[in-house]
């Protein structure tokens, strides 16, 4: 589904990714771990198409097609979803209005009519139940005055509504208490299928107790330096990152 080859990227002439390779197939869950400043969020933003990063080399392919020249909204239309580490506030725009606009814009890009209000309502009801979201929450301004947990839950709610092919969860566990973590992880697990894939970016093993990865990658200094199965995450949790740094020397 996603194939990244020798990706090099920089911001303001500062090199952040230094030849990164990653392949994600449908039905898989990948975890990307690594110390602060390793380039984890940069990778997420580059896949989503954030324009302030300059891709200096390499290719990003989705379903066999190069997407590196596509605008962020076009990548979204192709099924890429990023759950933001710090979701922004949009005052006066309700959660419902926002998700409705997002769905209909995506449909428009595919030449489809707006989703009928009845179907939209049904879907909102279904997905908000899945994530244990209160109806009142949906009428609030997007992320305005939301707690950290509400923001993250709202991200996963949007993911549930948009049904992406590839979901990237950037530090979705930060700011969540244990109950919220369980609800969010549970939601992600229920949305998982053999047709879609998930990339989980995290500092800690904690989230991976709930969303069990098929592969764990360690990102260090702009490259994936070690890959393994779920047990690698446990090892990292126990030993920290220093041993990997030493291995590299």
């Amino acid at each position: 589904m996603l194939k990244i080859e020798n990706l090099q990227a920089s911001i303001d002439d500062k090199s952040i990714l230094n030849g990164l390779n990653l392949e994600v197939k449908a039905g898989e869950v990948h975890a990307i771990m690594g110390p602060n400043g390793a380039g984890k969020s940069t990778l997420a933003n580059i896949i989503a198409g954030k324009e302030e990063y300059e891709v200096t080399n390499g290719a990003i392919e989705l379903h066999g097609e190069d997407i590196s020249e596509l605008a962020p909204e076009e990548r979204a239309h192709n099924g890429i979803f990023l759950s933001f580490q710090y979701p922004v506030e949009i005052p006066g725009v309700s959660v419902t209005n926002f998700i409705k606009t997002a769905i209909n814009e995506t449909r428009k890009a595919k030449g489809l009519e707006d989703m009928p209000a009845k179907d939209m309502l049904k879907k909102i009801r279904e997905k908000s139940e899945l994530l244990e979201i209160d109806r009142k929450f949906l009428s609030r301004s997007l992320n305005e005055g939301f707690s950290g947990g509400e923001k993250k839950r709202n991200e996963i709610f949007q993911m549930a509504m948009l049904e992406p092919k590839l979901a990237i969860l950037d530090e979705t566990d930060s700011g969540l208490d244990i109950d919220a973590l369980r609800i969010v992880a549970n939601g992600v697990n229920k949305l998982k299928s053999k047709d879609n894939a998930v990339i989980v970016i995290t500092h800690y093993q904690r989230l991976l107790d709930y969303i069990v990865p098929d592969f764990v990658h360690v990102l260090y200094d702009g490259k994936i330096v070690k890959s393994g199965d779920a047990s690698l995450a446990l090892e990292l949790e126990a030993k920290g990152y220093d041993w990997i740094k030493q291995e590299l020397v």
């Binding site: 302030e52 922004v88 005052p91 006066g92 997002a102 948009l162």
Partner: protein, 481 residues
């Protein structure tokens, strides 16, 4: 690929005026220039009684001695008042009973504006009094309104048919001496609307007037007078759009509202005068005086969506004379390219337990300057007066400006005044977030702006809110890419 402030700016300035066309209707225009003879000629043309002519002349003499105000936060080349033709009317003023009799070209104009009369009559239950180049050419729904005793007609006709009412109230809220532009308007106003709601009557429909400037080089001086008698209610809509012009056009309207005891007037405006091109050339000068007076327990609400004009100078105000009277001002002012707006309100609290609310939303883009200027005045006898003001500014790009000039004068210790102000900016992070959800930048800006303006949009009557949202999008969206 990088989306910078400059790109954002570029995107915002590439929207040319949508309604830039010119309707070729034969019209009669006075020679340029202004003196007592011209004032008398205008009055004569309209077959006005002597008291009206005298009233105009008195205003003209006051105006001659006045100077154009310069305190507003706007810079522009002053109009050459002797270079303006002060009267223009479609040559033949037809008496019309139905739309079939309206000049097809005029109907076509309205269709291109997206305000088909037919549609409005059917769907919106709106009586429309079209003001085209100063003289009304069609008045609809007169009969329905007549049955309730409601008078809604061009003010020129009201002067003939209801002289006592007009004489009593004209200039009672905005005296001829009030300010430079009001004096000018009083001297030369060509037409406008008059509305009277009798005691205890609730006007069954929104009353609506569409203004347009059509003849090149013609100043437009509309006069509106709305009188809501005791215990009555009326919702009045005013919307304007003007064709594209290279030379500046002066618009100096006066609107007076009178809400007698227990009456309520809701006055909504969507203003979309030609704002000039993206270099700041051309565009309408909109120097308007709007004021209402509230007697006991009366209420006046001003709601405005200002998207057009090169220069706007406008302060819809409320004089809260009666006890327990209420004044409200809800405003969205959008400026783009080189537009300048200095707009706000005055809430003058005279009566006891008077209450006022001000919600102002300023949106600036391009190289525009957007100023809120508001006065809250609590007079010594206004016990327990309350005011709440909220002024929010939204900026797009780095070259525009937002300014807030609140004036608060309190002469009574029991007053409660609250003032809140915020300034925010549409950021790249917000746009990227929307983009990532599949919403392109153009749509994202519309979404963010609509969210920002929501509190005010919600105050507009339904059928107007849709048009207003459309105007916000037209004013701010550019072609992406």
């Amino acid at each position: 690929m990088k989306y910078t402030e400059d790109d954002l700016e570029k995107e915002l300035e590439t929207q040319e005026y949508k309604y830039g066309f010119y309707t070729d209707i034969e019209s009669e225009t006075f020679a340029k220039g202004l003196n007592e003879e011209v004032v008398i000629a205008i009055s004569k043309k309209k077959n006005e009684p002597q008291w009206m002519t005298d009233w105009r002349l008195e205003a003209f003499r006051v105006w001659e001695k006045m100077e154009e105000p310069e305190w507003a936060n706007v810079r522009y080349e002053k109009p050459k008042f002797q270079d303006i033709a002060y009267y223009s009317a479609p040559k033949e003023k037809p008496k019309l009973n139905s739309l079939d009799e309206v000049d097809p070209e005029l109907l076509d104009t309205f269709k291109r504006l997206g305000i088909s009369l037919d549609e409005q009559k059917k769907l919106a239950n709106v009586a429309v009094d079209i003001v085209m180049d100063s003289v009304s050419v069609a008045t609809t729904f007169k009969k329905t309104l007549g049955e309730k005793g409601i008078i809604f007609m061009p003010i020129s006709e009201a002067i003939q048919e209801h002289p006592a009412l007009v004489k009593k109230y004209l200039g009672s809220v905005v005296p001829t001496t009030d300010n430079f532009y009001a004096a000018l308007n009083s001297a030369v106003f060509s037409d406008g609307s008059f509305c009277y709601i009798p005691k205890g009557v609730r006007c069954p429909m929104e009353l609506s007037t569409y203004f347009r400037i059509n003849e090149g080089g013609t100043g437009q001086f509309e006069r509106t007078l709305v009188v809501a008698d005791k215990g009555s209610f009326v919702s009045y809509l005013e919307g304007c759009t003007a064709p594209s012009r290279d030379e500046n056009q002066l618009h100096a309207a006066v609107v007076e509202l009178i809400a007698l005891d227990d009456a309520e007037i809701k006055y909504s405006t969507v203003q979309n005068w030609y704002p000039g091109n993206k270099e700041g050339k051309g565009g309408v000068y909109n120097f308007v005086t709007k004021r209402g007076i509230c007697e006991n327990n009366a209420k006046i609400s001003w709601t405005q969506v200002e998207t057009g004009s090169a220069v706007t100078w406008k302060y819809p105000s409320c004089i809260l004379k009666g006890n327990n009277s209420v004044g409200e001002f809800y405003s969205i002012a959008v400026t783009n390219n080189h537009q300048q707006a200095d707009t706000g309100t005055k809430m003058i609290h005279l009566g006891k337990n008077t209450k006022s609310t001000i919600i102002s939303k300023g949106i600036s883009a391009g190289h525009s300057q957007n100023s809120y200027r508001g006065l809250v005045q609590i007079n010594s006898r206004a016990e327990n007066a309350r005011n709440f003001s909220q002024c929010d500014s939204l900026l797009m790009g780095n070259a525009c400006g937002a300014h807030t000039f609140p004036y608060i004068e309190v002469k009574n210790k029991s007053a409660q005044i609250e003032h809140e102000a915020t300034t925010s900016k549409i950021g790249e992070e917000q746009l990227f977030y929307c983009n990532q959800r599949g919403i392109d930048t153009e749509k994202a800006i519309a979404l963010i702006v609509n969210g920002f303006s929501k509190e005010v949009l919600n105050k507009l009557p339904m059928e107007f809110a849709v048009e207003a949202q459309k105007l916000l999008e037209i004013s701010l969206e550019g072609s992406v890419g």
